[in-house]
Amino acid sequence: MSEIILETRGLTKHYGGVHALTEADFTLRRGEHVAIMGDNGAGKSTFVRQITGVEKPTRGQIIFDGVEHTFESPIEAREAGIETVFQTLALADDLDVPSNLFLGREKVRFRLGPFSILDKRAMREATMAALVKTGVKIPNLSNTIRNMSGGQRQCVAIARTAAFKSKLVIMDEPTAALGVQETAQVENIIRTLKEAGEPLILISHNMRQVFDLVDRIVVFRRGRIVANLRKEETDGQDVVAYITGAKTGAEYEGAP
């Protein structure tokens, strides 16, 4: 078992003429928590979409858990052990909370292939337990996601990721819409992952949060990785300098 859980080499994505991601070389070690920071439109979510099989990279390699993968769809990435909270949340608007939490891996009472009979009560109870951890309040779980507030939705997406075992967790701005209490709770969830030794990629614009939670910060600018900083060796102002382009990491010379 290698030290490194995820590695990308030369990962690149163009949308028509837009070079959203250029030659990204990224590594993540087992048990490590890394933050990705960067301006709006710097290519952070694009990076996440490439490594989770949502889109097909223009070129580049993805090595996960020692094996090179070309995920054709998010199912494959999930089956390989990557759990993701996407920035768009990826919830089904017309379904209620338990259905969304267990989407794609429902608890069943009888196995009958696609016609397996659902164990609704068990899913409902597990949902409550998972949501309580995020600290969110939802007066009626049978309401559809369409009728949830922004923060409630985000908590459902986070609970979904946290409720299942995985080899790597990716969270794209998980606390953007959360209130003070809920943010604290989600940060607790992340700390629990750290203790359990599960690696994490956290995308966030919140400097305090990043310095509180992660071991290392990777900065994206204009579609390129421009810095790779150990938390102890940097500070907020330094990171901002990389984000804005005032500085560029030594090993990334030539980046714009």
Binding site: V54, D93, P114, L118, V132, V136, K137, N140
Partner: protein, 356 residues
């Protein structure tokens, strides 16, 4: 931990005021339409729509009418069950009417009897050896046709990502062509007795209701149902949550195709003949039944119960017109108005709640 069984706190929540299921509105529309016919009947032709008024028969209800109300929509109803599932996943199936035509022709040609009134079958398609086959043969052949059409639809939609409207429109045109080509436009008649039994009497109703119950359970209690709603609600999200969307769609269209084929078998059996024009416009009726029953064409919302109620509304309208001796010239105009009115009522009552 959780304060109530309804959620995990936050706002005040009054469970007695839960939103009413939309099927109730459809049911209300159905009852309203029946009442309208009853009242109009008593006013204008001095007869009752629902109750028996003939002296020579002593039942409370006009049973013949109750039977025909549901009998005449059972066959399209069977199709509508499949169409409902397709629409819930956010798709549409325009091919079902044509698949009915093609399947009826093909299945019937395997269901012919050799001797008609002592003479050889004048409409025979195949030779001697293919006559008087056991009933399972035409049924399996027919279901096979439906399965094939459904698979083609599903595979096209799932893997080439073309809009369902186009894939099934193509199938609609092609299957109708196939129906005409099969026997070069000639009708195919004289089925065996066992084949004729499939659509005899109230059998179509029985088949329709049984299937409705089965698919109601499937849509509400199984993973298949849950995934159908999820895909219709937000396909991208369903994919990102790890549902195998493509495979699921193939399954849904295959089931819809088989249901259309089953409808074709029942239809040709009931009519003792198959002709290439069978099933024309059934796709629209089936879709309309589903939508009247509250199935959203955006996908993600609706139910089998709703569709069954939608089918009944159709049946009541058709029977009601004949009952009122409404001039055929006006029937279509009034039917158009009623279809719209039923849905307006439904939509309006839902909005009322939303504002409540």
């Amino acid at each position: 931990m959780a304060q109530t069984t309804h959620g995990i706190g936050g706002l005040a929540y009054d469970p007695t005021k839960r939103t009413r299921p939309p099927e109730l509105n459809v049911l209300a529309a159905l009852i309203l339409i029946i009442l309208a016919f009853e009242v109009l009947g008593r006013m204008f032709i001095g007869d009752s729509f629902l109750f028996n008024t003939r002296e020579n028969i002593d039942t409370l209800f006009n049973e013949q009418r109750l039977q025909i109300i549901i009998l005449q929509v059972s066959i399209v109803g069977i199709i509508a069950l499949g169409v409902t599932q397709v629409i819930i996943t956010g798709g549409i199936d325009l091919s079902s009417g044509s698949v009915v035509g093609a399947t009826a022709m093909i299945a019937m040609s395997f269901a012919q009897t050799a001797i008609v009134n002592g003479n050889p079958n004048p409409k025979a398609i195949f030779g001697e050896g293919m006559m008087d086959l056991p009933v399972i043969v035409p049924v399996l052949v027919g279901l096979g046709c439906g399965l094939f059409a459904g698979l083609v639809n599903g595979l096209l939609i799932a893997y080439t990502r073309i809009p369902p409207f186009i894939a099934t429109l193509g199938m609609m045109v092609a299957a109708r062509g196939c129906a005409k080509w099969w026997s070069k436009g000639n009708p195919i008649s004289f089925p065996t007795e066992s084949y004729a039994a499939i659509g005899k009497g109230m059998m179509p109703v029985l088949i329709f209701i049984t299937l409705a119950v089965v698919f109601h359970l499937i849509m509400t209690q199984t993973r298949y149902g849950k995934h159908s709603y999820a895909i219709g609600s937000n396909e991208q999200a369903a994919r990102m949550s790890g549902i195998n969307v493509a495979r699921h769609k193939v399954l849904v269209y295959a089931i819809a195709g088989m249901l259309a084929a089953l409808a074709a078998i029942v239809l040709s059996s009931k009519n003792l003949t198959a002709q290439a024009g069978m099933g024309v416009m059934y796709e629209l009726d089936a879709i309309a039944m589903a939508v009247i029953g509250g199935v959203s064409l955006q996908g993600g919302r609706g139910s089998i119960i709703g569709t069954v109620l939608g089918a009944l509304i159709f049946g009541v309208i058709i029977s009601g017109f004949t009952f009122l001796k409404l001039d055929a010239y006006y029937q279509e105009m009034v039917k158009g108005v009623i279809i719209v009115a039923a849905v307006v009522l439904d939509t309006w009552r839902q909005n009322q709640r939303g504002r409540g």
